[in-house]
């Protein structure tokens, strides 16, 4: 009886899994360390970082959905070409949409939007996930990975904008006497903030892992005692 009642819960958790996986456990920036070019280049302000993250999320979502839909009819030999065509189309659509929605955002991201095509996260998700899984999990995976990427970019953007310009989302934080730490707006600042974030994230995950292990060991303790 208990098994039956447990079952729906497990499936529910599983269907949400690809989403959480991308957002946190397999975060494209902090865990997989993918897509470093936009991560370093575009994160000098929170607004740019968020816009780039959301644009990438949209592309990932669309390309994952479309690729998953055609996965059974695409011959294996031409799958990469098909994926790239689909990804490039999603990027072009985003390019037009951003231009239509906000010119200031387009001006800030202009050169980087076409480069989303070459963002390895997108092709990686197509090849590793969307090309093998049904549509709904593929869409969730795209959304999770995209939002995970946007989250990581925003974290970096926040550090760089606050230290490098003394503002957050363009709002001045420290008043007119603050001397901005311009280094953080320049490429070296990108590398430094990325390193600090990676370190923080890794230490955090390791601690969580250790705690989880300790809990498992505690649960298994009686069994260990029997064997000893």
């Amino acid at each position: 009886m208990s098994e039956i009642s447990c079952h729906p819960k497990t499936t529910e958790l599983k269907s949400r899994d690809p989403f959480l996986n991308g957002l946190w456990k397999q975060n494209p920036v902090f865990v997989q360390v993918l897509g470093m070019c936009p991560t370093l280049a575009i994160t000098n302000s929170v607004r740019n970082a968020m816009a780039m993250g959301l644009a990438t999320t949209f592309v990932l979502f669309c390309s994952n959905a479309l690729i998953s839909m055609v996965r059974k009819i695409v011959p294996k030999q031409v799958r990469i070409a098909t994926y790239i065509a689909i990804i490039a189309t999603s990027v072009t659509v985003v390019d037009y949409l951003v231009k239509a929605i906000s010119i200031p955002v387009y001006k800030a991201l202009g050169a980087y939007i076409p480069l989303i095509v070459a963002n390895c996260i997108i092709l990686e998700r197509a090849e590793a996930f969307a090309g093998k899984k049904p549509v709904v999990p593929a869409m969730l995976d795209g959304l999770g990975m995209g939002l995970g990427f946007a989250f990581a970019l925003t974290c970096l953007g926040a550090v760089r904008e606050v230290l490098g310009a003394g503002t957050f989302l363009g709002v001045s934080l420290f008043g007119p006497h603050f001397e901005p730490w311009v280094l953080f707006l320049l490429p070296p600042g990108g590398f430094i903030s990325l390193a600090v974030w990676l370190l923080t994230f890794t230490l955090w995950r390791e601690r969580a892992d250790r705690r989880r292990q300790a809990e498992t060991v505690k649960l298994e303790e009686p069994a260990v005692e029997v064997y000893s």
Partner: protein
């Protein structure tokens, strides 16, 4: 063989679908994009020529003649925007110029007064200069002070920060010398190209026809 046909068929179908998607998006966003670009341009012109009530866009023909345009048509063709006050008096001419900056091409608009032969305002339309350094060419109040009355009858030159003496010199931003020099070159080049056209057609521009 049948496999190859299958591949070609699949790629063709995907390309067709992708092309269709792009065309649909393009058609649906076209008017919004045009509208956005025109708004940006209008804002810049209003900022460069305070008090503007009426404007005429002139396209510059290769022989130096002017033709009235309904809007900014094709990229690459030079144009002037003449601004008039409520009494129909010419306030100044807005000119677009571009020059290679530190990161990419800087495109800017500036106001030119044919009466005083000076540049009276400057505004960047598009640039990818380093945030916090080069992008100050559009924000730094001291730098923008240069363009309130910049003598354009003499070749414009950017000088080191704090050494401006002549009215045709631009005081560079310290720490953003390359971007400041690019602005100087942009203005110098554009003034030399465009001012003769304005001089030649000045009567017509003043009459506004």
């Amino acid at each position: 063989m049948s496999n190859s046909i299958k591949m070609v068929r699949m790629l063709g179908a995907v390309s067709l679908l992708c092309g269709l998607l792009i065309v649909v998006t393009h058609v649906n966003t076209l008017s919004r994009i045009r509208h956005n670009q025109e708004t940006i341009m209008k804002e810049s012109v209003a900022q460069l020529l305070p008090g503007i009530q009426k404007q005429i866009i002139y396209g510059v023909e290769p022989n130096g003649d002017l033709t009235i345009q309904a809007g900014i048509e094709s990229e690459g063709k030079r144009y002037l925007i003449a601004g008039y006050d409520s009494g129909g008096k010419l306030l100044g001419v807005v000119i677009e110029g571009s020059e290679r900056g530190y990161a990419d091409v800087i495109t800017a608009m500036y106001a030119y007064s044919p009466e005083q032969k000076t540049v009276t305002g400057f505004s960047v339309i598009e640039m990818r200069e380093t945030p916090g350094l080069g992008d100050r060419i559009n924000k730094d109040a001291n730098f923008l002070e240069n363009f309130k009355a910049l003598d354009a009858s003499h070749p414009i030159k950017t000088v080191k920060h704090g050494t401006k003496k002549e009215p045709w010199e631009i005081d560079a931003i310290s720490g953003a010398t390359i971007s400041s020099r690019a602005v100087g070159r942009l203005l110098d080049k554009s003034v030399q190209e465009t001012v003769p056209v304005i001089e030649k057609n000045l009567d017509r521009i003043q009459r506004g026809n």
